[in-house]
Symmetry: C2
Subunit: 427 residues, 2 copies
């Protein structure tokens, strides 16, 4: 593999992949680097976590997407970027570049909460979603062997974070416990399952207007979810969550969706960052210091109508196209154009046939928003076969109420073994 | 969960699951115990290993299969069986039984070959098939970064064992390297990929007549597979295989399909075993020592026309039905019947549209046997959705030559990192 490329992009998420596709399509030699050999379709992670679809359906091989003459891929971990020498050092090769795009996305942020990194389960990557799925079904299996007085912590699930991710996972959880699997655990009383959604601010879905956040909250409460607003987590242990108001929740599963920060690789020269560690960029998406370095997506701090753009796929996709165009202009010695975000609207899925949406000034709630959310994501999911299989899965889960994907991998059995043996000995 | 069951079955493979279904259907309370919460459809493991289908498609939840009034499931590891007290001790609960069926199947056997357990990759469980898939694609990714003189060991794959499993995996490998993925690794020369099949005896497919083994061998050799008969493995290291004839193969991937032995749980009382550690049973499938204990499938030594029955699904399925009937007779105080195996024939898939088969006296080779193998296994695969999705996958792979499932999980990247960094430093 050559060790110099005109354009190097780090990160095969929505932004980086779009930039790579756009550049390769226009005949520019581009190298895309990612630690995984697949692109993760993040919006459907929660469906992997609740057993609706197989993980591989949302993990599309990058090489297949870049199956073009000019698109190259390197599966490697970036260890450091040397901006002054224009070198990206990875755990495999060192790559020289003329132009660089940092599209490394975001990672989970724990806000320094004690025990969170160790005991809470984030849901940002495919592996984390599979781990979460395994934990959920392990808890059901473990609880099946215990008497009711010994198993409440296994049937209580705390979700930290009331944004779109927290709301969708708790809604999917309600769908799960109402699905056909109820008939498969005869020793479980499903009324014992407690879902608790913890939100630090005063409403859910802060990115949406208050009315929509309120609608989502009302609906989830009607479905039996215990929503606690203005509640922060102080500490997490293996079987408890301690809240800032002094309360304690006994639970073996804490799902962390409370915050993200930019995932910026190490660099030999400091770059200016903003909130959540995002790189500050000009309107053209260029770094403030190095005109041949760009940043997009969750890694970049870009303002829109005074507020910073939130980390959603449409933003990253549009920035991917924009950065490809600006690099092309730069290569031709032309003037660069500032990035302008075209907001097509925003949708969030709540679950149980409900969602919320904001398109222009129209506020949507209910089954229409739900169907639109599913429809949009089905269209954008890479791979015809994947779209077909996901559609079949949705028919099965939404029409038949079934859950076909429930295998538990070996390594995650540690939890239940410890929890059960201890409980069993005390019986 | 009650801790006493009239009938306890250990193992949710073909035999155990069939026995549980038959008993539950006839109104007997039965508990099925397995360390996994899913039944693995083993014949399609090799398709998971070569990226044709997702692992979850062949992992069907046991609870869904036993969704009946009398069928119960416990996900646990059996630690010991106490035959005299009629107790099965697991890592969760101790279960008392009146009747016990040992259907624990088989595990990989390494014949004491040095380094085999540590470095070779078996393909007996779902996790092992996924590990193998990850290894294969990791090797391709790693080799992409290296010059030809440094990467041969990454593109050489040794398969130990020329039975049905070895033949099917090497054939699927040929399909893989001929598939569309060729276009996705521009820095690889696919002619460098070497597939070496090592067989200790003098022909492939020893369970089939010599003519069929010969046909399979001829076909694979025409496809470019290097077949070495009467070749034993003496030692395996991280990057080499040492053969008994003094030769050495430089390879980072050794796939072990050379042997299985029965996987019998520990017991407080010794049971008489035969070849491969299988439990000796009477013609009624009862243990020789304990009339209320049965053994079936790979765990049992049963003769048919003088030879021991081989470990294939039809044998286990028929024994599962037979043991259910015999336990029912025993409960009623009736005379038990000996098990008689009805041999419907045997098929093996070779790959690239070829297979072999023996049905009665008819010997089949070529595309008819291939299509029959696929058809039979599609019909027997549990789950309508799974059958539909597997069929879609086969259309995609066999008609379009594509491979959609190629994600590599994190934990398996260790191999390529070490191999590459070392190679990179020496460049």
């Amino acid at each position: 593999m050559p060790q110099k490329f005109p354009i190097v992009i780090i990160g095969a998420g929505f932004g980086g992949l779009q930039a790579a596709k756009s550049l390769a399509r226009s005949g520019k030699e581009v190298l895309l680097i990612d630690r995984n050999n697949y692109h993760t379709f993040v919006p459907l992670l929660y469906q992997v976590a609740t057993g609706q679809i197989e993980p591989e359906l949302i993990a599309y091989p990058v090489r297949t997407i870049l199956r073009r003459r000019y698109g190259h891929f390197l599966m490697a971990e970036v260890e450091e970027i040397d901006f002054s020498h224009r070198v990206v050092r990875t755990n495999k090769l060192d790559i020289q570049y003329d132009y660089l795009v940092v599209a490394t996305g975001s990672q989970t942020q724990y806000f320094g909460v004690a025990g969170a990194a160790e005991f809470a389960l984030p849901m940002r990557t495919l592996e984390q979603a599979v781990t979460l799925r395994d934990r959920i079904f392990s808890c059901f299996e473990a609880a099946s062997c215990l008497e009711p007085e010994h198993r409440q912590h296994l049937l209580t699930f705390a979700i930290v974070g009331g944004g779109a991710t927290g709301v969708e996972i708790v809604g999917a959880f309600v769908e799960l416990v109402r699905s056909r699997i109820r008939r498969e655990y005869p020793s479980l009383n499903w009324r014992e399952v407690k879902l608790i959604l913890l939100q630090s601010s005063d409403r859910l879905l802060k990115e949406f207007p208050a009315k929509l956040g309120g609608a989502a909250q009302k609906y989830l409460q009607k479905l039996g979810v215990d929503i606690r607003l203005e509640t922060r987590v102080k500490q997490i242990s293996a079987q408890e969550v301690y809240l800032s108001n002094g309360q304690k929740i006994s639970t073996a599963t804490v799902i962390w969706t409370a915050g993200l920060e930019a995932a910026i690789p190490n660099s030999s020269q400091e770059l200016i960052t903003a909130t959540k560690g995002k790189l500050c960029v000009k309107a053209t998406l260029q770094s403030l210091t190095y005109p041949n370095v760009y940043a997009i997506g969750d890694a970049a701090y870009v303002e829109h109508l005074v507020k910073p753009l939130s980390g959603v796929a449409p933003v990253a996709l549009q920035q991917g196209i924009a950065v490809a165009q600006n690099i092309t202009r730069q290569m031709r010695g032309q003037k660069l154009k500032p990035f302008r975000y075209f907001n097509k609207g925003r949708l969030a899925i709540v679950g149980c046939y409900s969602g919320v949406g904001l398109i222009g000034k129209w506020k949507l709630t209910g089954i229409l928003a739900w169907a639109m959310w599913l429809g949009v994501h089905l269209v954008y999911l890479p791979g015809l076969r994947n779209r077909l299989v996901v559609l079949i899965s949705w028919l099965q889960t939404y029409l038949l109420g079934d859950r076909p994907v429930r295998s538990i991998l070996a390594s995650h059995r540690l939890l239940e073994t410890a929890a059960i043996k201890t409980s069993n000995k005390h019986q």
